[in-house]
Symmetry: C2
Subunit: 906 residues, 2 copies
């Protein structure tokens, strides 16, 4: 345990600063920093993330020393403000909020108005001069504390909150609609009913001791670190489980003290487009939760934003000015203060900020600032703009863009012509850009189920809540009826890079009937809709999409990345089309061209099957002669598409059983073609089946037992390359032997390849350069890489298989336990997605070092799926690989990740 | 290339000595050594094994320098003897023989009488004064040279040698039966016919140039290094392919120069029993090949041996003295010389020698000495006797016994009572001891086929040849009609530790009809016979066998081994019976007790299936409660059998799919038991099936996804141990978590185990010691062993799975390519039998070092099948393991191997 576990912050005296994120969490560190730079921050203190670990290690309790530290800091706040927590006359009230080192918005719990009880509420009423506000705050506090600390919040989405039920009953009885219409007596009676409900559900009285309340609040925040949804969020965003959250205890300020109060959220630039425009939303006479919850329609902060919004929402200027004025118009002084503060923050942090503010009775308070979540397009635009503005340098700009986010830009967008022809059903807010087409569902669980069945869905909700997270993640797009640009749906969707149209006010959802009504049209679950997240338009049915391009800002970023990179990026492609796509995305060669996929098309599978089912070598050679021209033509196509760039061709790899017909019809056909009985065909197929095909007769084991296959493939490759040479097209073939486990296996295959190629050279009277290397995908190959490298001219790490064998996990079967392993925290990531640097990486590093010890200029790359995963790319750069190779659509991601790895290293 | 490639040897001047086996081969080194110690050796020279490598590397030719060295050495022989190779007046004649560093008897080629041609044969006739002998030698030379050098030997076993055909024709024409009855003219005409045959088959004249003959002979020996049978023999005996053979060119001496000449083979002690008795066989007026080929009935060397032989063969004393006198009786002077020489050799080499001698016209020549092949029983007896005689020390005695040979003594022997009751059909020579019962076959290929089908066979042949090697290897026993104690069948069988009865003269074999006639009885292929290799008896039908015991010499050897060992030897046993057997063989604990085998017996499989097919945790727990008392009782039995010794219990390991019923009947039964539909059962079973079960949901992945299974097993283990404690029996349980790939996986299982055990301790109010450790069988566990060892108290290497994953070989499927890989030399051994020290061993070593770096007293063992394989045991000793564990019947082998490893290390 450290000596200091609680950090004080106030304008006058602050312990922390922005560099202490790991200790104070993002929120706590930034609160401290804002105090340091003189912004108006309500004073308070931060309980560190270490205490979170201590809390869990200590069976959910605290050592006495920590309790004392909290009390000491509380006293400091009390002395500073001259108020005491829960004082019956002039009570100090505090908020208790979470704040981890990495932002997890909405995932953890918060308690506001803490310190109120039957006595201090009277003091608050007296001091504020607003009895209604005081009792409404007390009512809210009991409700929030009951839900969050005492666990009265219903577990299931559909079940009603017990407190909301009581409010609804009172409103029904009083025949009123809005909470604000409740009288002071109504509020007082609600408070009694709320406390009864607490007693009934928990068996205990509502705690009146302010200190008991405070510790309850702190416990609740720590406990919320391990709720299912927080854990899920961490998995999704690859946030470690053991970093813990800090707790911020801060003096309450009130945005709900009347018409001179308010609260809001602002972005220093447009989070959706990246434009250098101050944007944000606010509500008058409201607490922070009201803005993000989407229950009231929020107003824009700037007049420009307000006008835009009114146009999108078809709100008349008259209505806008009277009901939805911008902060700029409604409170010009407050707007001016806020504008200056946001500039100060962005310039200070050198990044787009997402900030929360509260206006209490004409005074502006900042409650939080953080780096703003944004779409990928805006991430790129902001980074490039800031370079132009001289705020950051080029390397920083490259580091600013999360490689995985590029995925958003690599998905298809709507075809312009299709949009013109599309039927626009309605228009909502363009909350998160992109194009989505899918079948509508009304429930996050259904979205998950359908996604499991491979269906593409649009999740339609009145509004979303953190419980919908999983469903949002698998849906192609999100459509909500309520909520603004900073609503839960909007913020989360932007974070996910998921297309979202929010606040489409004209739609009506009937959850029971599972229908969506837009004007006259009624859509049922499963009907197709399309969302345009860039315009906010909702189209009827499916809408045609087009391929993305590397242009504009995206292209500029890629150029910048290449300027600072060391490694090459290649692609895994088996067809001329894929090769061309990848080349367009900047691939510098093919790192893995699988030859087996070529055998499945059209009639060629027949010849392949003849080869496999042949009874002897002569039969196989006969069938291989039919395959030779086909393979040669395939290679010509790929070599042509990749002219002047290296193409790594992997020789036949999968077990032969994968090629044979498993259906009666296919078997009959083969019997006829080969002129033998179907029983013979069946016997041969049966003899090919394996208990563990992954560990069976495949890879170079095929080439070493049936050398004639290797002979055919080597001939096809080199003849294709020579044919192109004649046409002036330069092919650079690199022949890759798969599944090597011993140096001898490689040598035998290499000799067959070189002998065959020499024969072709002699036949044609010409020569050309080529390489023969191997895939390192079997642990033993990595362990003996020095022996293998004596003959192999290059290594390519097949980390898919290497991961399978190093972990002993079959990718086909791991679904039975991998999700449970990740859920239980036994694994941080799916090792097939994120390279396991500790185990598999150890073999990769060892093989690289051993390989280069035997052949100093050994060319080394990776062609497993990890080649397009940023943290794995960084690892590959670290061990000194020459290139990574990934699927065509991940090439830009890998290029950016490679550049970042190189920049970080220096 | 080295400077010296040819080594001269003669009584006067010798280049080599016995320590140069790797260079000169065993035969060459011993010839040199015998010259050094003054024995009568015909002079000659040895072409080194390096030249064999050069020959193959050089496209089967020699550099000029080597040719010159051979010529120089030949000249030296010529000068020493005053004769010239092929001289028409007094020709020098030589033999050309193979000789690798490791003895491969009968596997390679030999050419005798080299240097003869139409002219020199006249010289030989003149000098020897024996024209018949000279022309017979010439005839033999053409035949042998034709077969061996010119490749005229028929490839298939059944096909007739072209030369033999010619001889048979002549004999038929002349109406004679024996070769010795041929007249000089007959021989001369045979020579003409032989040369015609050579011309006809090869298209070339028989070479008359002695130098051409010599190089042909040398080539032939080198070529015979890579015949199929030589390669097969090397695989069988794990002899590397790259050591090559030397070639010995030696002056001919003749045992076929009449009644004062002879040739024979002798052992300094009895090779079958180990008794300190000089034994051996010889033939008068014969060349060496005649003795081992088994075509003439050889005579005994000693009188004592001769009397014994006559008794066994029912030969009357009168007949024995006149037709089969011993050398001791027939040539007392020669016998005395030989007796003295054999003593000299044994004392000098300090080991039992197998020597070849030739008597040429009353002079004794030694042609070869080598360490004699022997049965395991004699190996042990000789080693122990030599310790008693003061010839060797105890450590040397321990090193003298090949651990794998102990297997012979660990096979069942005939029950004494069963022997008394057995019907003795006939009696042959007790050529190689042991008990064999099997179905008779008459052809080595059939023996192989039948063995593949799992049948036990007795191979019955008139006599055996090197071509029968594979069949002999798979047969349970060998019965021959011809051939003595030094015949091919006898020597090879003893080398293999295979039961063999040779020279059973009264049996008649009809290969065509596939029948064996013994007296009145006619046996067909597939009929059952039993062989007693210790007495030479042949019994009708099957004969009952009994378990072996560690008594007498065997027990003494084991005690000696334990005196010099460091590692413990445990056993892999799942039942009290196996535990008892292993304990009897000296097991010092159980290294692997697989719990899953226990679930298959009787009704318990039903409860196991209920557990697996249960639809939720509650259902599983209910079924596990039924299994608990069963498991507990099982453990009580095993702990009791292994009282006071540690028992490593592995928790459930195999995929659950292995336990469920795959037949309709079993599925119906389960549906009835569980009260659900058969469709539900089928669905569940289907959902359990896996593409690669080896890499699927098994091992600790079961315990981590269904913790209740681990809870039940931990409880059963500790309750069993506590129950025994009450009875005063000490159990030492070591609980082993299988298939760990990450430290967290271990930790989670360990916590479940410890929590469960603590609960039991609390319930019972008593405690006891136990360990929790893990199996290291996944490459990743080895790579991260330091992390794993933080919590694990012991490691046990599961080298079966570790080999599967390190090589990427499925044991179930590798049969498709492993044999081909071994045949092609891609693998030296089956890595599932002999631990791959380079690859898998690297992980074992790494894990041992990393594990001990985290926990210095980490107990480490091996429980894969390699734990009973001598070279692997030596490796385990080298890396510092605490114990090896193997199947009960391999425990003595492992004990001896462990002792040898420790002795060699020092």
């Amino acid at each position: 345990m450290l000596e200091k576990n609680v950090y004080f912050f106030s304008k006058e005296d602050t312990d922390g600063n922005k560099n202490l994120k790991e200790v104070l969490g993002g929120k706590g560190a930034n609160l401290a920093e804002m105090c340091n730079i003189g912004l108006p921050i309500p004073p308070g203190f931060t309980v560190t993330t270490d205490v979170c670990k201590i809390y869990y290690d200590n069976n959910k309790s605290y050592p006495e020393t920590i309790k004392k530290e909290v009390e000491k800091n509380l006293k400091k706040v009390e002395e500073l403000l001259g108020k005491k927590l829960g004082d019956p006359n002039d009570p100090l009230l505090v908020s208790v909020r979470s704040g981890a080192a990495v932002s997890m918005p909405g995932m953890m719990d918060t308690v506001l108005n803490l310190g109120l009880n039957d006595k201090s509420v009277e003091g608050l009423a007296k001091v504020s001069g607003n009895e209604w506000f005081a009792f409404d705050s007390y009512r809210r506090f009991i409700q929030m504390y009951g839900d969050v600390v005492l666990g009265m919040k219903p577990e299931n989405d559909g079940d009603e909150d017990p407190f909301e039920g009581i409010i609804e009953d009172v409103k029904k009885e009083k025949k009123i609609e809005l909470d604000t219409e409740l009288s002071i007596d109504d509020l007082k009676s609600l408070i009694v009913k709320f406390k009864d409900a607490v007693k009934k559900v928990t068996g205990k009285d509502f705690p009146i001791s302010p200190m008991e309340q405070l510790w309850g609040g702190i416990d609740a925040v720590f406990n919320s670190w391990n709720t299912d949804r927080a854990i899920y969020y961490r998995r999704l965003n690859q946030i470690p489980d053991d970093i813990g959250t800090a707790v911020n205890v801060q003096t309450m300020v009130y945005g709900n003290m009347g018409e001179t109060s308010g609260t809001g959220v602002a972005f220093t630039r447009d989070a959706a487009t990246g434009e250098n425009l101050f944007t944000g939303e606010y509500l008058i006479n409201a607490q922070g939760e009201d803005v993000v919850a989407g229950t009231r329609t929020p107003q824009q902060i700037t007049k420009e934003g307000s006008l835009r919004w009114a146009k999108l929402q078809d709100v008349s200027e008259e209505e806008r000015v009277s009901n939805f004025p911008s902060l700029e118009e409604a409170m010009p002084k407050m707007y001016k203060d806020l504008f200056e503060m946001q500039r100060k923050l962005e310039v200070y942090y050198k990044d787009m900020q997402d900030l929360e503010f509260t206006i209490q009775d004409g005074k502006m308070w900042i409650l939080q600032t953080r780096s703003g979540k944004r779409t990928c397009a805006s991430m790129i635009k902001i980074a490039l703009d800031m370079v132009k503005e001289g705020m950051i340098d080029e390397k920083t700009a490259v580091l600013r863009v999360e490689p995985n986010k590029l995925d958003e830009l690599l998905h298809p967008d709507f075809d312009k012509k299709a949009i013109d022809e599309a039927i626009v059903l309605t228009k909502g807010l363009p909350a998160s850009p992109g194009a989505a087409t899918g079948q509508i569902v009304f429930n996050a669980d259904v979205a998950e189920e359908w996604a499991d069945d491979g269906k593409e869905t649009i999740l339609v909700r009145t509004e979303t809540s953190p419980e919908d997270l999983k469903g949002m993640n698998v849906a192609k797009g999100i459509l909500t009826a309520k909520g603004g640009m900073t609503s839960h749906a909007a913020v989360v969707a932007r974070g996910m890079g998921k297309c979202c149209v929010s606040g489409a006010g004209s739609i009506r959802i009937n959850y029971k009937a599972k229908t969506l009504t837009i004007g006259e049209d009624v859509f049922k679950e499963g009907d197709w809709l399309s969302l345009n997240g860039t315009t906010g338009e909702v189209y009827k049915g499916k809408t045609k999409t087009i391929e993305p391009e590397l242009s504009g800002n995206f292209g500029q970023l890629m150029e910048l990345a290449d300027k600072y990179t060391r490694m090459n990026v290649r692609t895994n492609a088996d067809t001329p089309h894929d090769s061309e796509v990848a080349r367009k995305f900047g691939a510098q060669g093919i790192g893995l061209c699988r030859t087996e996929h070529m055998f499945f098309e059209g009639d060629r599978i027949i010849a392949m099957r003849e080869m496999i089912l042949a009874k002897d070598e002569a039969g196989r050679i006969e069938a291989l002669e039919k395959l030779l021209p086909i393979q040669r033509a395939d290679f010509e196509g790929i070599f042509k598409a990749m002219h002047d760039l290296p193409v790594t061709v992997r020789l036949l790899d999968p077990p032969l059983h994968e090629f044979v017909p498993h259906d009666e019809k296919g078997q009959k056909e083969m019997a006829k073609v080969m002129g033998i009985s179907i029983e013979e065909i069946k016997d041969k197929i049966e003899s090919l089946s394996e208990v563990n095909p992954m560990l069976g007769h495949r890879g170079c084991r095929l080439g070493n037992t049936y050398p004639e296959i290797t002979v055919m493939q080597a001939r096809a490759i080199i003849e294709a390359a020579l044919n192109l040479k004649k046409k002036g097209i330069k092919a650079i073939p690199e022949i890759m032997i798969p599944l090597i486990g011993t140096a001898k296996e490689f040598k035998m295959q290499e000799e067959i390849v070189r002998d065959t190629i020499n024969t072709v050279f002699e036949e044609r009277g010409e020569k050309m350069d080529y390489l023969v290397g191997t895939m390192i995908e079997i642990p033993r190959a990595a362990l003996t890489a020095d022996e293998v490298a004596k003959d192999a001219e290059f290594f390519s790490f097949g980390t898919n298989d290497l991961t399978q064998m190093t972990y002993g996990y079959s990718r086909d079967d791991a679904g039975k336990f991998l999700p449970i392993y990740i859920e239980k925290g036994l694994l941080k990531n799916d090792p097939f997605q994120v390279l396991d640097q500790t185990g598999v990486g150890q073999l990769v590093k060892m093989a690289t070092e051993k390989g280069r010890s035997a052949r100093s200029n050994l060319k080394i790359g990776i062609c497993g799926e990890h080649g397009g995963e940023p943290s794995s790319v960084e690892f590959c750069d670290g061990v000194g690989m020459n290139y990574v190779s990934c699927s065509p659509y991940r090439v830009p991601i890998a290029r950016l990740a490679a550049a970042q790895a190189n920049i970080k290293k220096k």
